[in-house]
Subunit: 310 residues, 4 copies
């Protein structure tokens, strides 16, 4: 394990056999018995760690964002393309959520016809200290960016951000909520309400409106309590409650694929596309109006839609 | 209009043209222009009023219970059978409720196969003063008695009443809630939770479990408010909210049928059967165990199941 | 009654006492006993009929759109303002729907804080012959235009229309669905999915997202049938099913208010504002981008927000 | 591992280090490194295996039924009581289900007042070959028997079984569905619809009706698809879908407790009580009427309600 904070790292691995602790990525990757790499450091540290793993041919599970700026993300794509084989899985955990997977299977099955619109809601009870207006787009909405690309199997080509008067429940100066609109390369529309200081719950919903039907996920119903003139359902307060199983499956899918010598899940191209769209989104937030997304040509390694569609 | 309380009656009809007020039923029925009779007096007064209407050949809409005791109810059935034509519609308003009608149509359509069980819930916020343990059966559950007979097109043949420890929210001495079980002449089962001091809402639900599917009504969803960690739906506090439209349709159906010279809705036989089953229910409540329902032979006037089924 | 088709009109009023049939508005309004006017003719005929009613000082219930073009609508506003008293109620029936009224009461009550966004869905199974792309905005969305103004008590100040690739289920050439965005004079956002050939149901939903909670209406739950591995709820196919009671209440509210010598419901100003916003919406649809709404100054007769807020 | 079918057992453990396969329980328990025992053999083999584990002082996770006949189950209780410490956890997995645990916490919290009734539904798509009418009670309903004792913290004191006309979807001769009623030592009522050939889904629901409110679980809402005039939700077809996580937690809770030198979950007393109640239920099914449950005195080892309540 590599962590600049050696003491915390030692505490985390206490009792696990065969684990050594390092402050340096290179030293950690060179330790005996290292067969794969999980990168969970802050985003700006990802590029170096990914390139180090590539140099040793090690499979990597990298937390999102792959690399925050699209320039760095493109360098990763190009480096992996030069290797000629995929080593990278990006940690977009919604692809591993049971509800999202059912929605994906339904859309891919084609019974509802072509998807026309996705209506998305992304609400948090409150934002952590230091959360900026840009982070609503490039951190919160980045989940919807990947989910939309994956669900639709389409690239996002333009983004518009609307800024209603901020909620008095948001910290001063934070543009919260925002309403983000994406257009796709096949004419679909994706809208996202992002509201990270809504105060009342963690709610992630998605409705796909198609030519012959609509489908929606995210209406959790568990315990319904009726008392005092009202039926009441608890709403999750935290993403860990909603997505705990998805995180587990994400890591398990990576471990399983790695053992088979394969790579699954979101690719480095997906990580790059998410960064490029998020960057365009931040520009749209700051300057108003519609901002087109310009993606570099897709290397042959990611040529098929399979990476997007799976 | 006939009412022992003349002042109240006069107030009620103030401003309506062509309405005269009487304290005496006979006088009221004999007033010029009376073409039909609506009986909304307390149950014990119904028998006399019904017979008076029969004597004049006037169609009647009679509030439930038709006649509280089954002996009196049978006299009405026999009197109408002697007339040789139906004049009576009993005011079981659930037969006119949109949800119940959809359930009825579904069951009659046969797509779900034979009904095996009905699970019913009947809850009131609180009971009025003077409400007795027997009234939970012969007043509250009488709605389910008629609804079950009508939905299933079957007669109820036995009843068992279970008495859990009463709620501390019920008036002292009132056996509330009760759990009432009916068996039918074709082997179906009907269970009813009746809880008239539940404190939290007016809730009427019915789930029909059939050979190839189940169907349920009564889960009203209107305004959902999410705040403070919970999604909250108001629950109706009053039967008028839930069944207002059914009452309107009941009276309208009677007026329309009367104009066409027809009688529709629940018949005197339905009124009699409800009284007989309720009487057996009260015996089951008082003596414990299962009590069989003994119905008189059904007169030819009510020979088909049409009256039950429609 | 005035109708250019005398035969149809005579059929409609057959059996109603004291009703005469005319082909000419003036003649109809001048008939003895006319105390109020209900205008249900096509939109282009409204202006003349409204001015004729004003000339006689008769209260009017006018179907929406009050006058299709905002110029004509403004002439009505000015004419009524010159009269110095309100005679006009516009037939926006959602203001009379039980669910909308509960949502309005909740928002006005203030417990959820300031409304930030309204997310609206407006779907029809199919559009009638001759329905144009512009009519999605100025006929279908006009309901949301009025509902949003009324629910929020705010004017709409700008509109943007997004046009996803049309559904293959829509008639050739029809831009269906559309996604319409409104901004308000106090910084709220209103988005409307309008999809008039969705094929699967008539669905009208509204979610209000506020500073301290959200509230939504339009999730009708009635009969739930579980069979063959799925729980299934019928979805209404027609606006008459969803809004039948609202239409009744609208007319009743008008009759009651007229009897009291009052005017209630949506005003001529509301009718004008709806036309002006719809016109801007059609321009936004045709030319792309954001179009500002320019309203004439509000006459003193409509000075308070009461007309909007009621 | 002990299994009479050595080949299958060898296949099951292939690739797991330090696992030896035996046909004989004694030999397996005596193998080096055995620290705990998981019994997943058919019920009749449990008694011998439990006693063998007791003889070696090994903690045991025993699948339900602990011992099918209450006589044998009581021998286990007495043997463990003689040991003077708990070694046994019974595999009632619902105690580990997230929804049941929330319901339990709510009832224990007391905000809804005393529980008066539990309404339970237990439906399977179809029963396996050889399933008998008695097994509806002693295999299927045994889950509700334990869940009711645990949720209420009360013993079940009497049972009545009602037998509607069997569904034509059930194998010939099988009394399916059944309606089972339990009374408790503090006057609560528990009713269970058990229907193991319902054909349409695996549905496990529970509604607790209390003095000041009701609470229900089991209304799974995940993907809602609206198409062709109906909103449709898939219903799970299999208990593994519904309770997969509960099974995992059950085993994990046992492993964790065992590592801490503790025993958690359902006790041998719970296993005995379940067998005794199920036996009374089968008598009630076969002979009709109400059958009282006679439990042996509870040994001090299980003296507190903690085992029931936790």
């Amino acid at each position: 394990m590599a962590d600049p904070d050696v003491e915390r790292a030692k505490e985390a691995v206490a009792g696990l056999a065969g684990v050594s602790v390092h402050t340096d990525t290179e030293a950690a990757l060179g330790a005996p018995g290292v067969a794969a790499v999980l990168i969970a450091s802050p985003g700006p540290a990802h590029e170096e760690a990914l390139l180090a793993a590539f140099a040793r041919g090690l499979p990597v599970l990298c937390e999102k964002p792959m690399v925050p700026d699209s320039g760095g993300a493109l360098r990763i794509v190009e480096a992996e393309a030069r290797l000629g084989r995929r080593l990278t899985q990006i940690g977009f955990m919604r692809r591993h959520d049971a509800e999202y997977r059912r929605l994906k299977a339904l859309l891919d099955g084609g019974s509802l016809g072509r998807p026309l619109m996705l209506h998305c809601t992304h609400r948090n009870v409150s934002s952590p200290p230091g959360f900026t207006s840009a982070m609503l787009v490039n951190s919160s909405v980045s989940h919807e960016i990947d989910a939309a690309r994956w669900l639709l199997g389409q690239e996002l080509t333009a983004v518009t951000v609307l800024r209603p008067t901020p909620s008095s429940g948001a910290p001063a100066g934070l543009l919260d909520p925002q309403f983000v609109l994406f257009e796709t390369d096949r004419g679909a529309l994706v809208d996202v309400e992002v509201f990270v200081n809504c105060g009342f719950g963690y709610q992630v919903r998605c409705e796909a409106v198609c030519e012959r039907g609509s489908a929606r996920i995210g209406a959790e119903h568990t315990l319904v309590v009726t008392t005092g003139g009202a039926a009441r359902e608890e709403v999750a307060q935290d993403y860990l409650v909603r997505f705990a199983a998805a995180y587990d499956r994400e890591v398990q899918a990576w471990v399983d694929a790695t053992r088979r010598g394969e790579v699954t899940g979101a690719s480095a191209w997906d990580g790059y596309a998410a960064s490029a769209v998020a960057e365009a989104g931040v520009r749209a937030l700051e300057h108003g109006g519609r901002v087109a997304v310009a993606l570099a040509p897709r290397p042959d390694l990611y040529a098929t839609r399979a990476e997007v569609s799976r």
